[in-house]
Amino acid sequence: MLKLENVSYLVSEKDNDKDILKNINLDFLKGKIYVITGPNGSGKSTLVKLIMGILSPTEGKIVFNDKDITNLKINERAGLGIAYAFQQPVTFKGLKVKDLLNIASNKENDFNTLCDYLSKVGLCAKGYINRPLDDKLSGGELKRIELAMVLARNALVNIFDEPEAGIDLWSFENLTKVFKELKSTTIIVSHQTKILEIADTVILLKEGKVEKIGSNSEVKPLLHLEMCGKLRGENG
């Protein structure tokens, strides 16, 4: 349902151009869970930003349900049913958690509905709906509210960039349950084995290229190699 065709993202720097992503071809199927993994700086966030339209590819095409969306704006893609949870949640001056959940779900929600959204991510609505979404909230709280906003959109494609970061272990189990229950096409950027385990397909990125696509058990050995390789490198 969502296809990346020959997608590249290149930034121009003073002397030379830098390939952040090079010739990416991916086909995300309806209802499946994809986990994108790979070392820091391999281009995972860049890739999902291209899908949401936060960045535009310098080459290639993005197709969603047979429609070329490469030149659509972020909100137009949101309107078609793509939702995205930021790696670093955005904070506001003056907007409350409730306001953002209402915007996300595109309706005025009553207390019980807001409660449903928040309890899915392990927060009790009472304490949160009227709080400003600002940096007085803890990192973990912000991350959970970020997830709740995406869940409130009820989208066809849900993208989560490192959703587990800052979330404690207990809630982590529930989180994987939430992902499994989603009926959407789900794309999760993650380093966590527990999340890799729920993937139908794991995509391993390395230096801006797809190194390997396959089931978790197929990609896992490569992840270990990756680590060993690094360790060997470090030891000289």
Binding site: M52, I54, K73, I74, N75, A78, G79, A83, Y84, F86, V90, F92, K93, G94, L95, K96, D99, L100, I103, A104, N106, P132, M149, R153
Partner: protein, 306 residues
């Protein structure tokens, strides 16, 4: 009272849930209605236009409304309102001025307020400024507020001016005694060619006195805003000023800090951040389905009203 009067009054003095103790409505330089109570007296001044509002000691959770409306063009209104707040009293004061000017001549309101807060008293002062009417005549508002706070008193000020006011010069002077606290939240939007100037001069005289000023301003079109604050710490005290501005179009906001810690135990801070709407806030709201313009509106509304 006609329709315009009523709508202006509602905008500057929207009814509060707190029990009304007294009120004084001024229209086009004249008193329109007045009510006093045993606890809160309103006495017209003899030597100049204006009133003395005398709040007895120990008055609990009452409200005083003193709105001003101007619907005539070419009027230059000057009024002195002096508040005397008795010890231990807690009162909400809703003031503000609405100008509806359809003429081509400026209408001006100069409101000079003073607040004398007794020991342990607590005032919540809500001030709204509204300008409207399509005439070329300016809607000009110049409020001056002088605050004298005795020990342990608390003064909270909420100022709201959301466009339509051609020019405003807002001056606030305060002197704080021991343990006195002053909190100011100022929210100002200017558009077109409007100008708005704010000046705070706060002298922290008493030990452990504390002032906190948060100014949120949004400037659109070719409007211009200036924010000056001057904190003087004469004792071990705490002062914090935060001036946050969002610029749109070709507008300008200038923030001028002055800090004088005469006593070396005074802790005074002025923070200012002025710039465009944060890109990540826009992007976040767009991922939630809002267009760029809608996202801007939501951010500005939250910033000014949140």
């Amino acid at each position: 009272m006609d329709k315009i009067d009523k709508s202006l009054l509602e905008k500057v003095s929207s009814l509060h849930e707190i029990k009304l103790g007294a009120f004084n409505i001024r229209k086009n330089g004249e008193v329109l209605e007045r009510k006093t109570s045993g606890e809160i007296d309103i006495v017209p001044k003899k030597d100049k236009p204006g009133i003395d509002i005398i709040i007895k000691p120990n008055v609990q959770n009452k409200a005083v409304h003193i709105p001003v409306i101007i619907t005539a063009g070419g009027l230059n209104d000057l009024v002195y309102n002096d508040f005397y707040v008795g010890e231990n009293s807690f009162v909400t004061i809703v003031a503000g001025c609405g100008i509806h000017n359809t003429s081509n001549i400026d209408s001006v309101h100069n409101g000079i307020h003073s607040f004398h807060l007794g020991k342990n008293s607590h005032i919540k002062y809500i001030e709204r400024h509204v300008g409207e009417g399509k005439g070329k005549g300016g809607k000009i508002l110049n409020p001056t507020t002088k605050i004298y706070q005795k020990e342990n008193s608390i003064m909270e000020i909420e100022t709201l001016q959301l466009g339509g006011v051609t020019s405003s010069v807002r001056k606030t002077y305060a002197r704080l005694g021991e343990n006195a606290q002053l909190n100011v939240q100022e929210n100002i939007l200017t558009e077109d060619k409007e100008t708005a100037t704010t000046l705070f001069k706060v002298t922290l005289e008493g030990k452990n006195s504390k002032v906190e000023v948060v100014s949120h301003s949004v400037a659109k079109g070719k409007s211009y805003q200036e924010f000056k604050s001057d904190l003087i710490g004469k004792a071990e005290c705490f002062g914090h000023v935060e001036c946050d501005g969002i610029l749109l179009d070709n507008a300008r906001i200038v923030s001028v800090p002055m800090i004088d810690a005469i006593n070396s135990d005074a802790s005074l801070v002025h923070e200012a951040a002025i710039g465009k709407i944060a890109g990540d806030e826009l992007i976040k709201l767009m991922t939630l389905g809002l267009s760029e313009e809608e996202a801007e509106d939501v951010i500005i509304k939250g910033f000014l009203m949140g």
